[in-house]
Symmetry: C2
Subunit: 396 residues, 2 copies
Amino acid sequence: MRLLAALVLTATFAAGASAQEALWGKAPVISPEINSDGTVSFRIDAPKATEVKLTGDFLPVKKIDTPQGSIAVRPPAELQRSSDGVWEYTTPQPLSPELYSYSFIVDSMRTLDLANVYISRDVSTVNNIFLIPGERASLYAVHDVPHGNVSKVWYHSDGLGTDRRMTVYTPPGYNGSDRRYPVLYLLHGMGGDENAWSELGRAAYILDNLIAAGKAEPMIVVMPNGNVSQTAAPGETADGFVPATLKRPKTMEGTFETYFPEIVAYVDSTYRTVAEKHGRAIAGLSMGGFHSLHISKQYPDMFDYIGLFSAAIDHYTEHSEIYDDFEGKLDRQFEAVPALYWIGIGKTDFLYPSNEKFRRHLDSKGHKYTYYENEDGHIWRNWRIYLTEFVPLLFR
Amino acid sequence: MRLLAALVLTATFAAGASAQEALWGKAPVISPEINSDGTVSFRIDAPKATEVKLTGDFLPVKKIDTPQGSIAVRPPAELQRSSDGVWEYTTPQPLSPELYSYSFIVDSMRTLDLANVYISRDVSTVNNIFLIPGERASLYAVHDVPHGNVSKVWYHSDGLGTDRRMTVYTPPGYNGSDRRYPVLYLLHGMGGDENAWSELGRAAYILDNLIAAGKAEPMIVVMPNGNVSQTAAPGETADGFVPATLKRPKTMEGTFETYFPEIVAYVDSTYRTVAEKHGRAIAGLSMGGFHSLHISKQYPDMFDYIGLFSAAIDHYTEHSEIYDDFEGKLDRQFEAVPALYWIGIGKTDFLYPSNEKFRRHLDSKGHKYTYYENEDGHIWRNWRIYLTEFVPLLFR
């Protein structure tokens, strides 16, 4: 078949140097490979390397001492070179079901696994990803179930004087019905953006799977951009292909919270929503948990369901009227008794102490909340877990 | 600010081995850097490497002889090592405005530039990308203009018995108006999927910018998946994170064309469309040009605007009724005189001869078409150019 051969050649040569290899070289390596016994093999073709390591969030944890104190790290694993120059590492044990990320270190240089086209960006770091399905992690996989749609939507903020981008999930069946749906507003953390929950958080897959299993109500999920200094994710603004950075101005100083009702008004006027308190939830991770806490108490008639995932509680960076009268606003919010006030945190999270203090305050006031504590710290693995725990409790 | 410091540490440690570097090592390199004179510098920190090269679609072309005949390639450029182990290459000349892609080759191993988080996948190859704005390439950049929304939409195909995914661009102003819009159906090539035109083709940015400049009518753009053997792009199906491949079954054998009216029916019933022939265009690249040619002549009352971009014309892989009576169907299509029949191809495209033959046939029959010929071959750079030429001619 001449055409296909020509197309293959064209595509291969477009990739430049790898063309020679593809034409006359050895077969491309398979990596990662999930073996039948549940172990995973990683391979990279680096014939001239003298040392190849693997870093990944599935490797064993070790405590190390740093000038900043003791920190848990996962030391890289060493790959072994075979005679054909392909390096390989196989995990000693089967990996538990989870979405994992990894990269290689070839002669001290970090590199991605280019045999694996699945790459995700977390703030300014790109990693390869792979999924071991099973148990809870099956919720992160794509299944043959009805899928919701995921849209990148621009709305206008009068308060910020600009158009801004959000991600909107509409549940299966939204198109082609007249039904109204409740809305979960789902907020990202510092350094994140409107892509974080759909990409790293697997939110659309989690919603699809929970809805298909009858474990969650069909709902709209709105994932706005919580950085008022940016209109959209890196690369999606007139700034061009700028480096992604964690440090941004104006993250936890009241502006996002002040103009949040604009987002709700836009969503209620654009989508078929249940435009009432009992049809709205708000949740977020880290900075987004901070935003959810302060937005929900600032506008106590807006949200009936609140989720704080590893929330930064009261770590504002500048004073704002939003943060004044913390206890009084919280009292008024709880006077109406929220349908759900949910707090989730990992035992080793650096925000554990401030969450503990917040819970003590809620306890002292008799404010009722649901508490979920688990292992690990301030990581996406936990935020996916919290989402799968939180969503089934909404709008029931 | 303790919280931010902790968040930075957390994010850094999540990346594993790069943590040590970030804490105590040298500053991260800047790459690529567009210099004030228009040249571009590429850098990579590879202290133990003995040879570092750069491959990219902006490097000079050279003809090489292969067993398959003479092929134009772009030999890699060599980077120079500085005393701190950072390797660097600066283009000798300023680069023309364009969206470029590149990767490094470190000691014979291909690697991405991890200082640049902008990565795109073309079939099974990932590359870093960067954009030199200016001239036509300004249409590929994000500007402060009203933006359309881009959605990943699932529709049901009765013919294929499954849900399938498409990308839908709705123009600025679509939400919040009652206006009906014409629709461009935009089809990808072999190995591509429903993400190709929006990611590699920069279709949404091109539409935003042309509409904002008054050079294109506001329109909906529907980018379906043209591989009937897959429901969605790699990673978006129940197959899991499978390798992306160019070779798929059932690509140019009539099935996609047969069930294309389902897509049009879904779009007309879901969006506010001008649901008539004069409100519909169809265009595609390579295999998508083949699909556009055969769909538009099979259903001569469906599309008034047809665009063949480097089209594979008559390279079907299996017989189908769709391909029968080629000349007769074409005659009937042209009897009604399409508002636009547009053909674009590059001079070095391997499909140039079959396009030339097709044009001779159209000429012999007196079928009118618009022809656009330019440099280069079967590459995304050309397909972006063709889109910017084609879209302003639609629905006027």
